[in-house]
């Protein structure tokens, strides 16, 4: 038998193959069958992609359209600033949270070996020819990978595979920091922008004639910005490492807060370029900060005062009535938003503002959040100075991002509140929360989207009109909030009774018990579910295409296939769909891999 030959017994790879792929005749059959299917579909896909009928320039030429739709050219720097802010923050976090994990040179070569081996196998298995259907219906066989091109890739990759195979075992003591290695990989990707060439189209300066040689380095217009951003990221990586070494504790709080605020800041100020009128700042923002600053100060100052404590219930009811009044009065939006923040302060201050130190810190936090909130709302609610043909500065991938991030941001606290409300002992709150959850969940998302696009305006009081994107955002928050609520409720129910008792036994009040003991554990048990639902809402955001928003899917399926300038792309649907599937796959794949690592880190406390 071949199975018992020397190679399959003595060689470790041979033994792995023998034990895992051919352990019995049925598993050998399955291995062959699956292998055949994989190779068959792979060759089919490659044949499809390289078929001369495909016109991939329809994707590459429209890359900018895909990302930002009709964002004005002269404001492009704002798009780059937005990306740059995220990258800089990324660099800072990688440096600051660097776990110090290392990888040996052998380990790096092992990875490179795998990569080059996979490339060699893929190239070797790729089909040489494919069928093209001619106009008269006959089928012609066309060569898609010329022999010399195949060899040009295959030979070097085989040589590299062999080289790395032997280099894997080098016994060099040098260890490399994984974070730095990963940054280097990212740098190599950026560098590839300079030399990897893919077909695209460029126009001459008059904007009418297509420049004949269509092979340009990938993203020929973007490598300079990417390089600058990469350098910035590196710089902040080193700043982050420095802060870590200096052991600057405050950063451990500032970085997560910055991550939270970063998208809000980008969308409301950088990407938007708001038109801020000074008189509204003086007539609304500054009065709001002053009034709420003083009220907040009083709440913090007297939160543990004995004589005020007697009137706690009437005071709380008073604030509740006040907030309803503020919401009904035709006040500027900033007052209403800050009122919500004030209610939050009212809830937390009895738990925190009990010592002089606690009061001081809470007051600082209060003032800072007042300024941040006012600043963000000022940007978000002002008109934009940018003019676009579609009337909205969001479109394509930037719209997808906007929906995904705000959907997550808003639905998370909403879901938590609904879940806690549904498990509350107060019947009114419980019934309201249960009602919201059940109604929202029992109607499909698409139906809600139509509701948002046509009916929501009917329900709103006269004169109140929101832009369609904002209506969709509110709706998405409720929709995913209702689902989040049920997941979180499941998590809450999984917490054993002993945890409540232990929290009670050390004298915690109900507020502390819920937010310090129960909720953190509940959230941890449902992270996989939450990640799944964030990914779902990321993908589902493409449904907004059906109510007329230009998201990335609509651009791919109806805008580009209708283009006839500068080149005719009419009917180029397939290319767009292939590209979009790949695009969504990359994002969700990276996201779920990241969250798996995150889960492992959090799982430390569990047995």
């Amino acid at each position: 038998m071949i199975r018992d030959s020397k190679f399959f017994i003595e060689n470790p790879y041979g033994r792995w193959v023998r034990d895992n792929l051919f352990s019995s005749s049925s598993s050998a059959f399955l291995t062959f069958f699956a292998g055949f299917m994989v190779i068959y579909s792979y060759r089919g896909i490659v044949g499809f992609i390289l078929n001369p009928e495909r016109m991939w320039t329809s994707v590459t030429y429209n890359m900018k359209l895909y990302m930002i739709l009709a964002y004005p050219d002269e404001a492009m720097i704002r798009v780059w600033l937005s990306v740059g802010l995220a990258l800089i923050l990324g660099g800072l976090s990688i440096g600051f949270y660097n776990s110090g994990k290392t990888i040996s040179l052998g380990g790096i070569f092992q990875k490179l070996f795998t990569i080059s081996a996979v490339i060699a196998i893929l190239i070797a298995l790729a089909p040489t020819n494919t069928n093209v259907i001619q106009n008269d219906g006959s089928i012609e066989v066309v060569e898609i990978i010329p022999q010399d091109v195949r060899m040009l890739i295959l030979v070097p990759s085989l040589v590299l595979t062999l080289a790395f195979f032997f280099l894997r075992n080098v016994k060099i003591k040098n260890l490399f920091n994984t974070a730095k290695v990963n940054l280097t990989y990212f740098g190599l990707i950026i560098a590839s922008l300079y030399f990897i060439k893919i077909p695209t189209i460029s126009l001459d300066s008059s904007g009418e004639r297509i420049i004949p040689d269509p092979f340009l380095p990938i993203a020929s217009t973007t490598y300079i910005p990417w390089t600058i951003l990469y350098v910035g990221m590196l710089l902040f990586f080193f700043i982050g490492s420095l802060l870590k070494n200096r052991d600057i504790k405050i950063m451990a709080r500032l970085i997560p807060i910055s991550w939270f605020l970063c998208p809000l800041f980008i969308f409301s100020w950088i990407f938007k370029k708001p038109l801020v009128e000074l008189n509204t700042v003086f007539s609304a923002d500054i009065p709001s900060i002053l009034v709420f600053g003083v009220i907040g100060f009083l709440i913090i100052r007297f939160s543990d005062n004995e004589s005020v404590g007697v009137y706690r219930t009437p005071i709380n009811i008073g604030f509740l009535v006040l907030s309803i009044v503020v919401f009904l009065l035709p006040l500027v939006f900033i007052f209403k938003a800050t009122m919500v923040l004030l209610l939050l302060l009212l809830i937390v201050s009895p738990a925190i503002a009990t010592t002089k130190e606690g009061k001081r810190q809470l007051f600082i936090v209060w003032v800072v959040s007042l300024f941040v909130l006012t600043f963000l709302i000022r940007g978000a609610s002002s008109d934009t100075m940018l003019v676009t043909p579609t009337g909205s500065i969001f479109g394509g991938f930037s719209l997808t991002w906007l929906l995904a991030i705000f959907g997550t941001y808003a639905s998370f606290p909403l879901g938590l509140a609904l879940a806690l409300g549904r498990t509350s002992t107060l019947p009114v709150i419980r019934i309201i929360c249960t009602g919201i959850i059940e109604i929202v969940r029992s109607v499909p998302y698409i139906t809600w989207l139509f509701f948002a696009s046509v009916m929501l305006t009917v329900f709103l009081p006269a004169g109140v009109e929101f832009n369609l994107i904002i209506r969709v955002l509110i709706l998405t928050a409720f929709f995913s909030g209702a689902y989040f609520a049920e997941y979180i409720r499941g998590g809450l129910q999984s917490i054993p009774k002993g945890q409540y008792e232990a929290a009670n036994a050390i004298g915690m009040n109900p507020f502390q018990r819920i937010f310090l003991v129960i909720v953190p554990q509940a959230l941890r048990t449902i992270i996989p579910t939450l990640v799944g639902s964030v990914i779902t809402s990321f993908k589902d955001s493409s449904l907004v295409a059906i109510i007329g928003l230009f998201d990335i899917l609509r651009i791919g399926t109806s805008v580009i296939p209708a283009q006839s300038q500068p080149v005719v792309f009419i009917g180029r649907n397939l290319e767009q769909l292939v590209f979009l599937s790949f695009f969504f796959w990359v994002f969700t794949f990276v996201f779920s891999r990241r969250s798996m690592k995150f889960e492992k880190r959090l799982g430390l406390g569990e047995r």
Partner: protein, 242 residues
């Protein structure tokens, strides 16, 4: 002056009466051991003392405060009374250090550094200072129970309640927990211990009580309790357990 006083405490779970009138007193610094067969109401009784259960009739006064439905009273009493559970009930998402400092920081409003210093002292006292940065899931049962003791002590309670602290433990770990409790008793802490560890009762207790079917059937000094029990029920119980 007694620090705990109960008068004719009765407690029903639906139709079932778990406590049928318990009157007792515990003096400051006293160590009281409660034993009795399963289902006799021992846990229910000590859980009434920090109001994890509510009694329906009778009166419980702890450190001069009567237990009523007033929330302020309950929180005040709970921070004076520490409790150690059979199943440890540590917070699995927090490290040992965070488990211990959580209540001092949030309930007692102490500074973090002060609480951490105190927590290290307590961990040394129960013999596991080196485990401070681990998570509960990474510790053995005996170590977890000692963390639970340290967590209760971090609130600087006047009274400690123990509900069968060793019965979920493997035999080789029981001793380390009992040693920590012994040390605590010697330091003058008022303790009520529900346990079947008769060796511990003989050696440490000032008084031993036997519960049966919701009643306290015997109350005695350890010597008398083991060598010369007054009640037939006690004789039967001892013959079964020893």
């Amino acid at each position: 002056m007694s620090i705990i006083k109960t008068v004719d405490v009765k407690k029903w779970f639906g139709d079932f009466q778990a406590l049928k009138g318990i009157s007792m007193e515990v003096a400051e610094g006293e160590v009281l051991v409660i034993c009795g067969p399963s289902g006799s109401g021992k846990s229910t009784f000590i859980r009434c003392i920090n109001r994890l259960e509510q009694h329906q009739e009778g009166e419980i006064v702890v450190d001069g405060i009567e237990l009523t439905n007033d929330l302020k009273n309950i929180e005040a009493i709970r921070s004076e009374v520490g409790m150690v559970f059979q199943s440890f009930n540590l917070f699995p998402h927090l490290t040992v250090m965070q488990n211990i400092t959580l209540a001092p920081i949030w309930v007692r409003k102490k500074s973090r550094s002060e609480s951490e210093e105190k927590a290290m002292e307590l961990l040394e006292r129960v013999g596991i200072p080196e485990q401070a940065q681990k998570f509960p899931g990474q510790l053995s049962g005996g170590q977890q129970q000692r963390v639970a003791i340290a967590r209760a002590l971090a609130m600087e309670p006047k009274i400690m309640l123990f509900d069968e602290p060793t019965s979920a433990l493997d035999p080789e770990m029981i001793k380390e927990v009992l040693d920590a409790m012994k040390e605590l008793a010697e330091s003058g802490m008022t303790m009520i211990v529900v346990t079947h560890e008769m060796g511990f009762a003989k050696e440490v207790a000032d008084r031993v009580m036997l519960f049966d079917e919701g009643l306290m059937v015997e109350e005695n000094t350890p010597n008398e309790f083991f060598d010369n029990p007054k009640n037939d029920r006690t004789k039967l119980f001892l013959s079964q357990i020893l």
